[in-house]
Subunit: 282 residues, 6 copies
């Protein structure tokens, strides 16, 4: 029900006072069958969301593929039956949702497969660099792709970043301040820019250390520094900043727990999906 409210807003944005074209040219009461079709290989995401929309407007889903399934070009993702006007009115909105979410899921899955093929077990995580207002959709698409959602919001976990430290003036002090005032239910993560900071963070009780914008060699040194002091097992290590399809294997070989990638959600390539009217039923 909560999702419906959000989807209604998205629909309202596109529909405004009504779908002029459909109301003008499509007779009332025509029942049609339509297919939603993958125009390229993809990992499907967004089916749950568009089913909510279809349900709201009384369109039945005869069969459909589940979110998370990898499909080839030409696959019928859903076969639907309902009022012709209603289907045409929501067509663009449901495709926009499916194309973006599946685009994110597909890119996430691709990176995970790459790690898998190299026999490396590291989580791929999203960041808060999502499209404005689309946090839920973008994070869910990453999850469907097999990724880790990371923080949904600023109240989700503590993440002390460079700008915090710039103001407060010291990693150790920041971690201690967080530990004493934040709920025991929260993890504390610290973004560090050197092996020294990583050690201070770990020693002061950080749960997670983020190696931020480090080259592979720097990252390696930071991890070794933690291992040398017996601090590696006390913390989770996340590598972030500048990770691409090309260098991800190099970073993953350092065996961090997590690699996070902003581009998964801030620079999405939508996959191509279309809706085709197949038959008029009455």
């Amino acid at each position: 029900m909560l999702l419906r409210e959000r989807l209604l807003e998205i629909l309202a944005e596109d529909i405004g006072m009504g779908d002029l074209t459909t109301e003008a040219v499509i007779p009332d009461g025509i029942e049609v069958e339509a297919q939603i079709i993958a125009k390229e290989p993809l990992v499907l995401a967004g089916m749950l969301e568009i089913k909510e929309i279809l349900d709201m407007i009384g369109v039945r889903v005869l069969k459909s593929i589940d979110d998370g399934v990898e499909v080839s070009e030409g696959t019928v993702l859903a076969q639907i039956v309902g009022d012709g006007r209603a289907i045409l009115t929501v067509e663009r909105t449901i495709l926009n949702i499916l194309m973006r979410m599946s685009g994110i899921a597909t890119a996430t899955r691709k990176l995970l497969r790459k790690l898998h093929e190299a026999n490396l077990k590291v989580r791929i995580a999203a960041t808060r660099k999502t499209a404005p207002g689309l946090r839920y959709f973008d994070k869910r698409a990453v999850m469907i792709g097999g990724g880790d959602t990371h923080r949904y919001r600023l109240d989700d976990a503590v993440l002390i970043k460079d700008n915090h430290i710039a103001i407060l003036g010291g990693v150790g002090r920041a971690v201690k301040a967080a530990r004493s005032s934040v709920s025991f239910t929260k993890k504390i993560e610290v973004e560090v820019s050197s092996p020294e900071e990583a050690i201070i963070a770990a020693e002061n009780g950080a749960d997670i250390i983020m190696l931020d914008n480090m080259g592979v060699d720097e990252a390696k040194k930071a991890i070794e520094a933690l291992e040398d002091r017996g601090l590696r097992k006390r913390v989770l290590i996340e590598i972030s900043g500048g990770i691409t399809e090309k260098n991800i294997i190099d970073y993953a070989r350092l065996k961090p727990d997590v690699i996070s990638i902003g581009a998964l959600t801030h620079s999405v390539r939508s996959v191509d999906i279309s809706l085709e009217i197949k038959r008029i039923l009455n």
Copy 2:
């Protein structure tokens, strides 16, 4: 004021119950100076929107670049002064807005420059393939980049597409139906897939003809067919579907009025922009 409501929703999505980290580690009442910096060359878009956010939280903008200006890497886009906690709390949201909008404006401007350099005067337009819920932001970014916004919503103008024709069964009938029932303030556009349909549409009073998913040769034939029958000047011609940076010049040489490109908004590459705390003022 209307924009503020929307920006508040976007902020709320990221903040939730509060910025745990900032509240825990940054003392109350610290005034800081910060810079928003372009980390790559870009066409700026989103400055108007983030100024609304900064104004809402009482942060002053000392100087800033205007939307639409093309800047080089390293340019300070805005210099701001205000409460440290407030700035850190909105940092990610304002960067997310700037990075996406500037990404769209930059890509739009690049295509326009390409046409300009080839001495071709054709409008570049967006489509309704925007990120769900981001119609306003995505369209505005296209406009700032120099593009045409096309329809904002389904009530904006009539656009008769393949699926409408599939149900109604004929371009001519559809155009006539629209002409008689839709307000005289609206234009009527028709998506056609052959020179024959283009002619029927024009003869029946369409204001705009969209040549959809045609190869360059097909598109050429359609335009010539219209010219041969003296219909070319009566209509605007829009070419759409499968246009890329590579083939855009070929299509533009056919002298359509508009070329529209879904990828401008559905597959955005965000440009890199960061916020850096420069000084503590008290």
Copy 3:
């Protein structure tokens, strides 16, 4: 679904914490049959909207007249069956909607009949002078009555008015500015106060010319001036301002394309409709 949100707000405004009277005097669980009855001849409008309300509260509509039908006094517009408390609680709201919308539709139809009887084919259009917040309802009622909705909103089409020209200082300049910066999907209309302005507007590419607050003779001159210069067919002509039932035929004889009338929505006479409980069913 979008309409429901709006109708809920309207209901909420009337109901507040609950219908004190009904809860106090009507026992829970009483099923009743009721009729909605036209107390005077009218063109029905609002049936679609009140059916949404009745559906929301679980009341069944056994039979009903369609929006747009002209009925005589005493006609049963709808026969409904449902929970007595629910029906009484929404009674006033559904009647308020029906009475206003049907009032608008009836007045619109009356003017159109007048034109029809005089064998004149001119569109009757509404303006943006609707009751605040009721744009959708007022425009839809005009449409049901047979009228043209004109612009829904300020982003619907360009309409350059006297105050715009007062600031910018010239019709021609204004039309050119609009043509170059506004999307190709939009029409451009110009309000003119003299034949000279009409000619300038048409020559600069206006799609629609509004003859504003002109007497019949002035309007005639303006139209003739356009005809003399061969510009009449390039534009649509709208006459607006001071049109009443009495003078509409005189204006219509000038063969404009459209006559628009603010009073259709700003000075509505609601028609009389009542709801009567007919039987208790249990």
Copy 4:
């Protein structure tokens, strides 16, 4: 602040994605002076509301007439100074509010004057027959005109009507049921259709008796019946249904406490008010 939310919705309805025309033809940053002018004699209402709108968009009101003041044709209702684009964008919305509210206030005042001139002291009240969603604005306009707002909502007071009695089967029973279950802070009003019902209602403790849709003679009989039994002073008497400018004096001579008139708000004639740009200030 509460009013602002509502006004924003009303503005949003008209503005949509933006005022295309103004953005296209009016340069940014032009400061203008404008006047809001009464085009006919009227009782002003809505000034408080439009000042909220003007304040929201940063427009200053140099001088203005107060709500409730009766003005002659040509009176400058407000002189304002501010950004040209902002003023033109809200022009229609503020005029729509002023024209409707002043129309209601003017009509209310007219009836009160009529009673006053006949030396009759009876309250004129509105009903719940307001435009859907405009309860606040319509009731406030009646109040400014000098009328009584009557119930705002269904939870405001008890009003047992014909349909309630049709289901429950008896005025006396209904009044008792209400008296025992409704808060002691609420008045109980009963709509009666005969002198007998009026007596039963008064005897059972109704605070207000509404003589509904009675002719003058019937109403007279009902009031006399109450007087004869010494019940007149225990109750307030409201006459409602079919009251017009023509017959109001006849009803008022019966000395009811209140006469209520649905048409005050359901059939409003908007008064004519315009906004004119006077000067460009920069």
Copy 5:
């Protein structure tokens, strides 16, 4: 439907992006049977509200106790069947509603029983000292307990309090001002702090006199003063301020019409209610 919107907000507050735990550990599609159980004796309130929630998420209520019924410890308040994930996700919210509302109803009923056992017929009323945002729920729980809801809002009835009089400077003047400007549908109540003020209020036409923060003896004097002057029957008397379980009988013996108690809603003891999964059905 109106209630649903409010309940959705309450649910949304608890659920956020989703019930992490349930999604992680409970398989999709498991149907369970659960019971809602009273862990102490109580008067049930909130069943109507939680049924709305259960209906929204598709959970069926096999049997349930009605609001207002007094039950012993261990009573099964409702037996429900539905999707395991859905039930666990709303568990806390529905218990929070039931526990608070039943706590209020139970405390209200207890005081009423005390009066009943002492053979005293006085209404027990709530005040506007409800939890912020919970006016509807708190007032309804008082009503279910058998109490009087008093004013829902500031627009419900006039209540002239000490701070009003402090500014205006006189009870008589305040009552007159209210009588002349407020709708005839509203009652006027006055808070008085002495027998003298009580008399002035009654003589000036107050409908209700509130004896505020008076000791039993003072209250007695005030009531006698009204009786001595024959004013007692013209007004309702409400005693308020400092009423507890211990002194309520002493006040009630003075035979006021109403005793109002802020603590009924501002200092609620929630009763203990739990939800237990009984069986997995598939």
Copy 6:
């Protein structure tokens, strides 16, 4: 700004169409000075929230006590100056907020003092048993009192409870399921009912163990069992269920990390705070 939206809703609930009394009896434009006064000793909470309200309506706060400060009876919590009507209209709402929040903060502080006096360092935490819709306010009040907020929402951290285990059938399985599918940024807590379950939870990687509804002896055994197996340091221990002022010291002596108490927010005793008009300034 986000808080303002919520406070506006709370104000709207109380104000409705307007404060009838104040509008009727208090002249427009009267400036007053008022004091908010503690009528009993208390820990202040809610000052930040009511300052937002006062700021919204243009009332100035001359001086005020900070949230978290413990004050004695009679302390002036805030001295304010502003429009008389505005202050009286919000009086009840701001007192309702202050009284509830300060009631929660005071109760929390009292328990913490008790632990402090016994030289025991254990966190006191709230639960999700807050008043429906008041999560933010209730949690913040606990924090101001010195307590731990625990989970704000269901997406905040994993907490596997008895009902989850009832469906899934095993603590170990549940913890593993959560660990593998939930983000690495989240802690995992498990509610256990025996020492055996505690051990299984700890061994399977739970971050926090909640000893639920255990007597002091049982809780002791569970903690010793963890210590015996060297698991105590790996986890945080939270004791919950049935903790009262009387037994809290006994539980605290077991040295858990956290004791959580639902009654802190579900059974709040509001503290007494009043607002008094001191002077009229004009």
